[in-house]
């Protein structure tokens, strides 16, 4: 594979890798400022067997969490150390970061199965628009292209929609991207024939109409992958299919309508204050209707939104807001705005001793989420109480 990095001024550079990287038995974190530096640090280290922690340096809460929970000093690390190679962080259901360890076997087996989904496509070029700190970016954006012979893999820190079309216009191109770009491309006033291309998208809100428009404008193919950091890949679907088909080696069931998964891609251990083993089947927060080896996704039982590829918990935002003096309680609800690219937004309701400026709220959220701009509306009520089931409710 030939790796090419496109700089902000559009100049291209072949990425050279130095495999004489010193390896340590300790876990080492990689949080490079751009994709070029990341690849140059990550690929040689990973190939040489270095254990690597991946996290987004803009995520200040995660940075603090990682500093306070040095994995090299944790109890039970030897069990996780035996095979684990990578550690990813994700928003836990409680709203605070949880680490998921991945073994080489977890990753290699999944890449092998993802590769079978490319059967029928003659891929000569891969364009990667996704960040590498998350499992989807590493698996689909780096390890999958690495497993393809004779391809050119093009990466850039920030793509605009037309830049993707430009890179993909030669055909036989695999584009590793997100629902944001699929939606954006569908809205451009462009028509092209990209029939020999395949676009792979991570899971996220993507309406049937947007997919139809995308496929009709570009006469191309779309594959969506469904999974999570802890579980790895679970299922896939092509085009406008409504049902998700399970990936090879994944078995599913449901308990109280929640999706349960057993597979070789699931983490054996997670980091949740300490290193704890995960048992299978793993219960997700996804509400589904199962039919054989496929399922229809009905919704999620927790309050997680995805903004710019980042999973953010509404509960976490509530906890952050409640650290602001004068805010007694905060209630955060997810609002879906189909017409927007950033389709998931939040509605904040506050019980406060005085009105809080939006600037104060933005500043507080930026301490945790960096430059990410989370669209929100702000409302005040006299009292936010708790229901008998422990859920927050407000009384006007």
């Amino acid at each position: 594979m030939i790796l090419e990095y496109i700089h902000a001024d559009n100049t291209k550079q072949s990425i050279s890798l130095n495999y004489e990287t010193p390896i340590s038995k300790e876990w080492r974190s990689i949080s490079a400022s751009n994709k070029l530096n990341f690849i140059q640090e990550f690929l040689p280290a990973y190939s040489c067997g270095q254990k690597i922690v991946l996290f987004d340096s803009n995520h200040k809460q995660l940075l603090k969490y990682y500093e306070e929970n040095d994995i090299n000093k944790l109890e039970n690390r030897d069990k996780a150390n035996e095979q684990s190679r990578l550690l990813f962080f994700t928003s836990g259901s409680s709203g605070f970061p949880v680490g998921a360890f991945k073994t080489k076997q977890n990753l290699e087996e999944e890449v092998k199965v993802l590769k079978t989904l490319l059967d029928g496509f003659s891929i000569k070029k891969v364009v990667v628009t996704v960040p590498f700190v998350h499992i989807y970016g590493i698996l689909a954006g780096l390890l999958l292209p690495l497993s393809l012979e004779g391809v050119i893999c093009v990466v850039k820190d920030d793509f605009l929609p037309y830049e993707i079309l430009n890179e993909a216009s030669g055909g036989n191109t695999l584009v590793i991207t997100t629902p944001v770009f699929i939606k954006a491309l569908s809205k451009l006033r462009e028509e092209m024939n990209l029939a020999s291309n395949l676009f792979i998208s991570s899971t996220g809100p993507l309406d049937k109409e947007d997919i139809e428009l995308f496929q009709s404008n570009y006469k191309t193919n779309l594959l969506q992958l469904f999974g999570s950091t802890e579980t790895g890949g679970i299922a896939y679907k092509f085009g406008t299919a409504t049902k998700w088909s399970t990936l090879e080696n994944v078995s599913i069931s449901s308990l109280d309508t929640k999706l349960n998964v057993s597979s070789p891609y699931i983490s054996h251990y997670i980091l949740d204050k300490n290193i704890v083993p995960l048992t299978q089947p793993f219960q997700t927060e996804d509400i589904v209707e199962i039919e054989g080896d496929s399922f229809t996704l009905i919704g999620r039982s927790n309050k997680i939104i995805k903004i710019a590829g980042k999973r953010i918990s509404a509960l976490q935002i509530e906890a952050i807001l409640e650290t602001i003096p004068d805010i007694q309680r905060a209630l955060v609800e997810i609002v879906y705005k189909k017409e927007l690219i950033k389709s998931e937004q939040i509605r904040i309701t506050l019980q406060a001793t005085k009105k809080i400026s939006k600037h104060t709220i933005k500043k507080k959220m930026s301490e945790f989420y960096g430059v990410l701009s989370i669209p929100f509306t702000l409302h005040y009520v006299d009292t936010i109480s708790y229901s008998s089931t422990g859920k927050k409710i407000f009384l006007v």
């Binding site: 902000a8 001024d9 559009n10 850039k156 920030d158 793509f159 605009l160 929609p161 037309y162 830049e163 430009n166 944001v180 770009f181 954006a184 809205k187 451009l188 006033r189 903004i307 710019a308 705005k337 927007l340 690219i341 950033k342 937004q345 939006k358 933005k362 930026s366 430059v371 990410l372 701009s373 669209p375 929100f376 509306t377 702000l378």
Partner: protein
């Protein structure tokens, strides 16, 4: 010709920035980053769609976009130049 206020209204409406009014956005205010309006990379994608939909102006690469998206003033100037 469009005015900076017209563009601000279009940005507020299309990015659904319900918490901001036209008068709160200064012509020279940075659109992206920690200071100024605080838009992010997904908003940049949305902005390119707004410009195409509302004004028929296409922004095809990020190298040019950085200077064009610097502020409402630079963005307005670019749109008006393209429409001439």
């Amino acid at each position: 010709m469009i005015t900076t206020d017209e563009l601000k209204s279009a940005i507020i409406e299309n990015l659904n920035l319900e918490d901001i009014s036209v008068s709160e956005i200064e012509d020279d205010m940075e659109l992206f980053g920690d200071e100024g309006l605080g838009l992010d990379s997904v908003d940049a994608i949305e902005l390119t769609l707004i410009l195409e939909k509302e004004y028929g102006v296409k922004i095809k690469d990020m190298a040019n976009a950085k200077a064009i998206f610097a502020s409402v003033k630079s963005l307005t100037q670019y749109i008006n130049e393209q429409k001439q």
